[in-house]
């Protein structure tokens, strides 16, 4: 049960039940779909950019608690950040959920995202935690295709 509580922390349960920024963003200038064929999770990320900064971000979709909460916390975490800051954050987040040691140097603070550290004990759930991030990453790169975790 301790591992489970580590994974399903209250903040995650909360964000999975009441996801933030869970809406269509009318002002979005980029929109991208992500799909995890393994479990059928789907996420659409809406992105409004101002120069090289994320002015606004939202998501929609259906998925498990981990993927929904991850997308929700992600939207809160990247809003207002520059593209380079978002990419750096994704890298640190990815290292954390895959259980890799954090890179040396001045890595960005994870803040609320640290709540997903328990995912590294559940390799089958890493894709759930990273689906929205991969989708956001691809949206920032400007590739206009559906992103798949496979």
């Amino acid at each position: 049960m301790s591992d489970l509580r580590e994974l399903y922390q209250e903040l995650i349960i909360d964000h999975s039940k009441r996801p933030r920024n869970f809406k269509v963003l009318e002002t979005a200038d980029r929109k991208l779909e992500g799909y995890n064929p393994l479990c059928g999770d789907k996420v659409t990320v809406f992105l409004e950019l101002e120069h090289d900064r994320v002015k606004n971000v939202s998501f929609q979709g259906s998925g498990c608690a981990i993927s929904t909460a991850s997308a929700s916390v992600m939207t809160e975490s990247v809003k207002g950040k520059t593209l380079a800051e978002v990419e750096a954050l994704f890298e640190v987040f990815h290292q954390m959920v895959t259980g890799k040691p954090p890179a040396a140097g001045n890595a960005p603070e994870l803040g609320k995202l640290a709540v997903f550290s328990g995912v590294s004990e559940f390799p089958a759930r890493v894709k759930c935690a990273t689906l929205a991030w991969h989708t956001l990453h691809a949206a920032l790169q400007g590739t206009g295709e559906t992103v798949s975790t496979e």
């Binding site: 049960m1 489970l4 399903y8 349960i13 479990c39 059928g40 789907k42 498990c64 759930r125």
Partner: protein, 423 residues
């Protein structure tokens, strides 16, 4: 005193069944003794693959330790032994399905390959533009995609028999789809996602009334009850060894000899020829014509051992026990508040697909896994079924005859724990 397996007659037909005692049977499956996350393993993903009895494991080991040689070619002792064991396994499959002849039993990699073989060697020759193939709304992807590929290639049309809310195959809708352009009917015997046992006898009779051949996907059927292909009178019947307590990588296609004989080879290579010159190659007779290359020898022999093992218990006893366990599980899981069961057909085999209000199936599976309970989540390679019921995924517990009521109780307790975590 002789063991149950030693009491088996060599040809697998005259069998003295051992008395059915699930605790006794569990002793035959070494993996069931292990723990997962510190809890006893509760394996409820039998529709994905089944666990292997010691007899199968020993047979595969013994083949490599004592009999390994290539088959159908060596003029020496070991090759003869290996060939004999492989061909004996074919005869065991023949008797298991009650097929008229061992020539009608083709070894494949899986039921997927069995279906693809029929697509490739029969469908491609038979189908023309505008022709139709009928499948059902509860097929596994392996009985959808090969037909889609063929229909696209030929300009043919894939027709789908709908199901009702219980997951029943709708015979009257099927009747409406049958017509003079229908060239083949390919239907699952048991739905992997819903557990529905389809009315194959009627399906086949109705097709035969119009002289249409029928393929039955028996992957989820043969592990649960006795199948008699002569009684069914289907043209083709396929199943996978690994769902029948045998090794992975081995499957079976049964086909009526008169059809198989008229079909071109599947793949070219060694073992499927009578003579080869650069001008002309003469193919071997069936079933060798469809078995190019060195086959999965230990897989075939292991499958034979699995059949021996099952017949030592008796498919009737297995079915009776599983039906009792299924009824118990359907009641117990269905009684949990917030649980919705998918698939409530009158005739079902050991599958309980469900959802839990407010919790995604993937989260259910992770929490159950921490309790040592293995279930499947996702679309079960049957996305059209998910669409039919309007859900992205389902959780599925699927039963084998080594499962117990105590394990169902553990599943129920696990689902309550899921509710606890999600408050």
């Amino acid at each position: 005193m002789k063991s149950a397996t030693e009491m088996l007659a060599a040809d697998g037909r005259q069998v003295r069944h051992r008395a059915f005692d699930v605790w006794n049977i569990r002793e035959d499956f070494p993996i069931l003794k292990r723990q997962v996350h510190g809890k006893p393993l509760v394996y409820l993903d039998n529709a994905a693959t089944s666990q292997k009895p010691q007899m199968v494991i020993d047979t595969v080991y013994r083949y490599y330790a004592e009999e390994n040689a290539n088959i159908h070619r060596g003029a020496y002792y070991l090759s003869e032994k290996a060939t004999q064991a492989y061909e004996d396994a074919r005869v065991k499959v023949q008797h298991f399905l009650h097929a008229p002849s061992a020539r009608e039993i083709i070894f494949t990699r899986s039921v997927t390959e069995a279906i693809n073989l029929v697509v490739h060697c029969y469908g491609r020759k038979t189908l023309n533009a505008g022709d139709e193939v009928i499948i059902s709304a509860m097929e596994h992807h392996s009985n959808i995609v090969p037909w889609q590929i063929l229909c696209e290639e030929k300009g043919a049309i894939l027709r789908v028999v709908p199901i009702d809310d219980a997951g029943e195959f709708l015979l009257d809708e099927y009747e409406k789809l049958l017509n003079s352009r229908t060239k083949l009917v390919a239907i699952t015997h048991v739905s992997n996602a819903l557990g529905t046992i389809t009315p194959v006898r009627q399906i086949i009779d109705m097709a035969h009334h119009r002289h249409i051949p029928v393929l039955i996907d028996g992957a989820q059927a043969v592990p649960h009850f006795k199948v008699d292909v002569q009684e069914l009178d289907c043209e083709f019947y396929g199943f996978s060894g690994h769902k029948l307590y045998g090794p992975t990588g081995i499957g079976i296609l049964y086909g009526k000899a008169e059809l198989l004989e008229g079909m071109p080879p599947y793949q070219g290579g060694g073992d499927m020829i009578r003579s080869v010159t650069f001008e002309k190659t003469i193919y071997a007779p069936i079933p060798s014509k469809f078995e190019a290359g060195t086959p999965h020898i230990e897989g075939g022999i292991g499958l034979g051992a699995a059949i021996d093992y099952l017949e030592g218990i008796g498919m009737e006893a297995i079915n009776a026990y599983e039906q009792e366990l299924l009824a118990y599980a359907m009641n117990a899981v269905g009684a949990i508040p917030g649980v919705r069961i998918f698939g409530t057909a009158r005739e079902k085999a050991g599958v309980i697909s469900f959802s839990l209000e407010g919790v995604h199936p993937h989260d259910i599976a992770t929490i159950l896994d921490q309790e040592g309970i293995a279930i499947r989540t996702g679309h079960h390679c049957a996305q059209p079924v998910m669409e039919r019921f309007g859900v992205p995924a389902m959780a599925r517990a699927s039963l084998a005859f080594y499962n117990t009521k105590a394990e169902i109780d553990a599943l129920v307790a696990g689902i309550h724990k899921v509710k606890e975590v999600f408050g």
